[in-house]
């Protein structure tokens, strides 16, 4: 280490110290010790595997994060000596982030949800690819989800999830939802809108928001809201018409092999029917329906899929429904009138006959 660089480092450290002294009294001596190494840009280590471990920490970013009052060892609690005799372990956020903590962390127990999630289970099972808190929330620059710069701010979520779920991220980016998000649309759903956050579960789990039995409810969070749907010219009745269809009814009664929204519209690369790439584009309908209805041909697109028989848009089905409505009402009206008149006559005859037991053989019903 040259003298000039030492000088520069000292200057930085002093500047940092002064700034920290003004910013917060908690900026303490031990952080300086840590930053004597970790505060150097380019401080990194090459692991035997060839992987490069970035060990530089920008103290300014930490000071801007929600943990600005924290010291290095508040989180890196296993570090007490420099140089570290053992490899420091990943930070355990649960030291503070539990319900009833006294360290000023939010009184939430998200880690409990996380433990039950697919990610938490994988982590507990020792899967090295399983994400920890830091994988989504970041390490030193953690910001509230409402902060635009936060990794978990709504518009940043797809990239965060996409870090691991690369293929799905690519599909999502190309979908109507992904495109809308890219345009800054505040209504556009991100990964967590459908999958949940800490409580993400496999679709196979019964309690998952994307379980076949719950997909319609999850989509309905937006798609049966007229206020949202009318902005994009999408019919808000699609959920209701699905629920009235044989697919929807079977699904409701627990037949999960019956189609749900995602079965036809796909889960991630959802596109409007007008798009030639859409799974519900008329040209692609035979293939999409053919997944469950072997041999489906172009006639599957001959007629609407989401049918509301009470609406004129249903075409001939509307007229069939109307015809049956008229037939039913007029038939029942006629039958009720006939029964009413019959009873009226029986009561009158009964009264005339002087109240003999109705139904008994008597002259009152003789012609």
């Amino acid at each position: 280490m040259t003298g000039t660089s030492m000088l520069r480092l000292r200057r930085i450290l002093w500047a940092g110290l002064v700034a920290a002294a003004f910013a917060t009294a908690a900026y303490a001596q031990e952080d300086v010790r840590c930053l004597s190494c970790h505060g150097k840009p380019g401080f990194r280590k090459t692991l035997p595997s060839g992987q490069v471990l970035e060990l530089f920490v920008d103290p300014n970013l930490l000071r801007l994060s929600v943990h600005k009052d924290k010291h290095c060892v508040d989180c890196h609690a296993d570090v007490s000596e420099v140089p570290h005799p053992t490899t420091p372990q990943p930070v355990n956020c649960r030291r503070c982030h539990y319900n009833g903590n006294t360290s000023g962390a939010p009184q939430l127990a998200k880690y409990l949800e996380f433990e039950r999630s697919v990610h938490g289970k994988a982590l507990a099972a020792g899967n090295p690819k399983a994400p920890t808190c830091q994988d989504c929330h970041g390490g030193h620059f953690i910001l509230p989800g409402s902060d635009l710069r936060s990794r978990v701010f709504r518009t940043n979520i797809p990239q965060v999830c996409g870090t691991c779920h690369l293929k799905i991220f690519a599909e999502y980016e190309a979908s109507i939802h992904g495109k809308a998000l890219a345009k800054g649309n505040p209504d556009a759903p991100v990964c967590t809108s459908c999958h949940g956050e800490h409580n993400i579960e496999k679709p196979e789990e019964k309690t998952s928001t994307v379980n076949p039995g719950h997909v319609a409810n999850t989509c309905a969070k937006c798609h049966d809201k007229v206020v949202i749907m009318e902005k994009y010219g999408v019919n808000a009745e699609q959920v209701a018409t699905y629920e009235e269809s044989f697919h929807g009814i079977a699904n409701e009664f627990g037949v999960l092999k019956a189609a749900n929204c995602a079965s036809c519209h796909t889960a991630h690369d959802i596109l409007p029917p007008s798009d030639p790439l859409s799974s519900v584009n008329p040209a692609n309908i035979p293939k999409t329906c053919g997944k469950c209805h072997p041999g489906a041909n172009a006639n599957f697109a001959n007629g609407r899929i989401h049918i509301d028989a009470k609406d004129k848009s249903a075409g001939i089905v509307y007229w069939v429904a109307l015809g049956f409505k008229i037939l039913t009402l007029s038939t029942l009206a006629g039958l009720f009138i006939h029964i009413g008149l019959d009873l009226y006559r029986k009561i009158r005859n009964h009264q005339k006959a002087g109240g003999a037991k109705p139904g008994a053989p008597s002259s009152e019903i003789q012609p």
């Binding site: 079977a250 037949v255 001959n302 007629g303 089905v317 429904a321 038939t331 019959d342 006559r345 053989p361």
Partner: protein, 317 residues
């Protein structure tokens, strides 16, 4: 003769004595008393004669009495037969053949099964629908049950057509079920009677306009339900052949006609055969095909007259 009598007496020959007495008696009846008979013999003779006559008379009386009572009994029996022939009001008359009853039984069994497994699908939001589907074993079971009902209904529909063509009874019954102008007149007449404008009821034949309506309503319902049902059952074929909209029409028709048919059965048919004050809690006609003579006369007077004429003729030896 007196010698013969004396000898018979002395020989204790009762047979000879009785022969002599009989001879004497027959002579006596002709007014000839044998001169040789003593006073004592004559007295004994008269006693025997009287006793014989008394026995004869008693036997005659008994025979006569027997004949009298016999005659009386016979007459009573004939009268009862006569009465049975004329029929009493409470007597049951078979109006519907076993052939027809069996068709009706298959029809209503399959309808009940179809309604129980079908309507919960239409009214899927109702808690009772979920309950019904659950107790029947879930949607995968009810789907199969519904199709079993469908096959039974189709079978009985086709069998009925066969019955109407191939059987004498079927051809006759079908002919009687064809609506005629008289039915419209009868309906109007009946309404006027209900309203009190006409004092008498219309006289119905074998099938009144009410029964004809029931029959043709079932006919219409069967055609709609079976056609649309098979469109739904073989959905992939129908959509591939005719388009998704055909399936949608089938579904709408199946759903709407199901409700119409169920309501018609529950309200109209049940009123006529169960809840009508004269029928409550239900007639057993579906089982034994019989109605009482009183109902017969009241509800089908023209058919009754016809039946009576043929019945009387048929029972004459």
């Amino acid at each position: 003769m007196s010698e013969a009598v004396k000898k018979a007496w002395s020989d204790q020959d009762t047979r000879a004595v009785s022969e002599i007495v009989q001879q004497a008696a027959s002579s006596a009846l002709q007014g000839e008393i044998p001169p040789a008979v003593t006073e004592d013999q004559a007295k004994r003779l008269r006693e025997t004669l009287a006793s014989a006559l008394a026995t004869e008379v008693a036997l005659d009386v008994r025979r006569a009495a027997h004949a009298f009572f016999e005659e009386e009994r016979r007459r009573e029996k004939d009268a009862a037969k006569e009465r049975a022939k004329a029929g009493k009001d409470a007597d049951m008359v078979e109006r519907l053949s076993l052939h027809v009853r069996l068709q009706h039984m298959v029809l209503f069994s399959s309808c009940i099964l179809l309604i129980l497994t079908g309507l919960p699908i239409k009214f899927h939001e109702a808690a009772v629908s979920v309950f019904l589907i659950d107790i029947m074993g879930g949607p995968d079971v009810t789907r199969v049950l519904h199709r079993i009902g469908a096959v039974a209904l189709t079978f009985i529909g086709l069998y009925h057509l066969f019955y109407c063509l191939a059987f004498e009874e079927g051809r006759k019954t079908f002919g009687q079920l064809i609506p005629k102008p008289q039915d419209a007149k009868d309906a109007l007449h009946q309404i006027l009677y209900f309203l009190g404008i006409k004092k008498d009821r219309p006289l119905f034949g074998r099938f009144s306009y009410v029964e004809k309506f029931d029959y043709w309503a079932v006919y219409w319902g069967m055609v709609v339900m079976i056609t649309s049902g098979y469109i739904l059952w073989f959905k992939d074929v129908t959509i591939n052949q005719f388009g998704k909209f055909v399936f949608d029409i089938g579904r709408e028709a199946h759903s709407d006609e199901a409700l119409l048919a169920t309501l018609a059965i529950v309200i109209w048919h049940f009123y006529n055969v169960h809840f009508n004050p004269h029928k409550f809690p239900g007639s057993l006609t579906w089982l034994n095909g019989k109605i009482t003579l009183r109902e017969f006369k009241e509800e089908h007077p023209l058919e009754y007259e016809e039946w009576k004429a043929s019945h009387d003729k048929g029972s004459t030896p």
